[in-house]
């Protein structure tokens, strides 16, 4: 597998980031090496092996349906970049 400039742009769009020209060059070059390292996994014979998403082999525990969280809006919004009247502000969505 490899990473071309177009795919890199797509990945940058999906992850909402940008790279400088220099970083771009580095990433394209490093990616090749990283993917080569990763690609050794294709030698493994695992087609019939179910994936293991989590090392814990227990069932999910459920929480009783109770209101347990008190919301201190002021405390939670203290580090918000931009808030007015308790609402987070962002550039217009549509």
């Amino acid at each position: 597998m490899s990473l071309d400039s177009q795919l890199l742009d797509h990945l940058l769009f999906l992850s909402r980031m940008e790279l400088s020209e220099n970083e771009r060059k580095l990433i394209l070059q490093d990616f090749e090496r990283t993917l080569a390292m990763i690609d050794v996994m294709h030698a493994a014979n695992c087609d019939s092996v179910p994936p293991l998403e989590n090392p814990v082999s227990q069932t999910l525990e459920l929480r009783a349906d109770e209101q347990t969280e008190e919301v201190d809006r002021e405390a939670l919004q203290q580090m918000a970049p931009e808030v007015t009247n308790g609402l987070y502000r962002v550039p217009r969505v549509i």
Binding site: H10, F13, L14, R16, E53, N54, V56, Q58, T59, L60, E61, L62, R63, A64, D65, E66, Q67, T68, E69, E70, V71, R73, L76, Q77, T84, N85, G86, L87, Y88, R89, V90, P91, R92, V93, I94
Partner: protein
């Protein structure tokens, strides 16, 4: 050419839980902005989701009610995309192995028609972006973020706008009936996305489909589909192609418009959420829920029609939710008059509740009281006119029981034959001229005598008995 529209529905139902699906924050509608969004709902660093038991139970309740396949193990996935109302940058949702698999919903009109449900899965709701008229700014309220949603996906086996609404209503009724949700569409606790395509009537292959998002009333579903089906047919007849896209319905202009399309295709990169382990569905949950399921609306409606003699309209009305049907059951049993019970519930009571802004659950008129009222009409204690006055007293809370109201209003109907006979005699004696006229053929004067006696008794004379008695005594000589 004849065209056939093909429609599928995706219905989002906010489940009626006390707390959110993955946090212990409150879920009431209409709270001050961001006062019900805790650290977990805001996606603060280090916070983790813990699944709400009740969300699982309500989803399973739906699954069992539509006779769906329930998997033994369910998984939650992360669906990745950026949006300001999505705090974590991913929505916890389901992909493979959703909590409710394939099932079916009967139409319940005795026709035996069913709609195939493809699946229903649990996910967390997003917050709300408000775009008030501030230049270039949106404001984000995350109170809704994390409210449990059940997304019900039907098979694309609906073939007209009218039918789509019929099924949407059916699912709405079932959701209310099972107590899954308040399903108040004005509060967005139930909303619908529709997928619609059009194909030549005899073609098996489906046409390219359009999704119309966020329809929150039955009327809008119908209008949006009517417009969209028309638009697609026109498009195809003009030889143009349908391009797959997402559209929004503008109820003011009564048209659908494309959402500003994104430059790139979405790629949600679903993967199992490592913060949530697989959930093993316990057999005892299934057993308990199955035991507690109420008889389904169509079964109950059928039995009202066949064994109680109600009309289909009345039976369906009463079965729209469990509260109404249970209330009716109590009134009908106590009053022993199902038809009158149904009429009162659909008529006077519904009207009064609407006027008072309350529902059956918090109505002042208990099932016991309404049953008493009907009994008092049937045993002729009350005329129907008097019954309405007593009912008003109950609604206004002036009396707590029917008999108390009758006493308080001095409303007992005068039915005693001897007393009535004496009144009649006295009245005839007082009006010899009119008696003469009646007897010489002017029988219309009967009304005059009734009026005199009603006036004297403040309307409490039993009209039926009074009429009989008057005729008997006037015709005597």
């Amino acid at each position: 050419m004849k065209w056939q529209p093909v429609i599928g529905l995706e219905i989002h139902v906010q489940l009626a839980t006390q707390s959110k699906i993955f946090s212990g924050a409150a879920t009431q509608f209409g709270a001050m902005p961001n006062t019900q969004a805790c650290a977990i709902d805001l996606g603060l660093p280090g916070t983790l989701p813990v699944l709400n038991e009740q969300a699982i139970m309500l989803a399973l309740r739906f699954g069992l009610a539509i006779d769906a396949e329930i998997p033994s193990k369910i998984l939650f996935y992360r669906k990745n995309y950026f949006y300001p109302d999505l705090p974590k940058g991913y929505q916890i949702s389901q992909l493979d192995s959703p909590i409710v698999g394939a099932g079916r919903i009967p139409l319940g009109d005795g026709s035996g028609r069913q709609l195939a449900i493809e699946r229903a899965h649990l996910e967390e709701d997003a917050g709300k972006s408000l775009h008030r008229d501030m230049e270039g700014i949106s404001e984000i309220d995350l109170n809704r973020a994390g409210i449990p949603l059940l997304e019900i996906v039907t098979r694309p086996e609906i073939y007209s706008a009218e039918e789509a609404v019929l099924w949407f209503r059916r699912i709405h009724a079932l959701v209310c009936y099972l107590g899954l949700s308040d399903a108040v569409m004005a509060e967005s606790s139930m909303r619908c996305d529709v997928n619609v395509s059009v194909r030549p009537a005899k073609q098996a292959r489906l046409g390219e489909r359009i999704e119309i998002k966020n329809l929150n009333s039955f009327r809008f579903v119908e209008q949006a589909l009517d417009f969209e089906i028309d638009r697609q047919i026109r498009c195809l007849e003009e030889g143009r192609k349908i391009v797959r896209e997402t559209r929004l319905y503008d109820p003011n202009e009564r048209q659908t418009l494309p959402m500003r399309s994104k430059e790139y295709a979405e790629d949600y990169r679903y993967f199992p959420d490592p913060d949530l382990l697989p959930l093993i569905v316990k057999d005892e949950w299934i057993e308990d829920i199955r035991q507690s399921l109420p008889p389904l609306p169509e079964q109950r409606s059928q039995s009202y029609q066949s064994s109680l003699g109600l009309s289909r309209e009345a039976a369906d009305y009463l079965c729209v939710d469990c509260t109404t049907a249970d209330y009716f059951d109590s009134v009908a049993t106590l009053s022993k008059d199902p038809v009158a019970s149904a009429n009162w519930i659909m008529g006077e009571l519904a009207f009064a509740n609407k006027a008072a802004g309350c529902t059956l659950a918090d109505s002042r008129v208990s099932a016991d009281a309404l049953a008493d009222l009907i009994r008092r009409i049937n045993d002729t204690t009350l005329s129907s006119k008097m019954a309405k006055i007593v009912f008003a007293a109950l609604c206004e809370g002036r009396s707590s029981s029917v008999d108390e109201a009758i006493d308080a209003l001095d409303m007992k109907q005068l039915s005693d034959e001897d007393e009535l006979a004496e009144l009649v005699t006295r009245t005839l004696d007082a009006h010899p001229h009119q008696v003469g006229q009646y007897r010489s053929g002017k029988t219309k004067l009967l009304g005059f005598f009734v009026g005199q006696i009603m006036q004297a008794t403040h309307g409490q004379a039993n009209p039926k008995k009074l009429n009989t008695l008057l005729r008997k005594m006037l015709d005597k000589a």
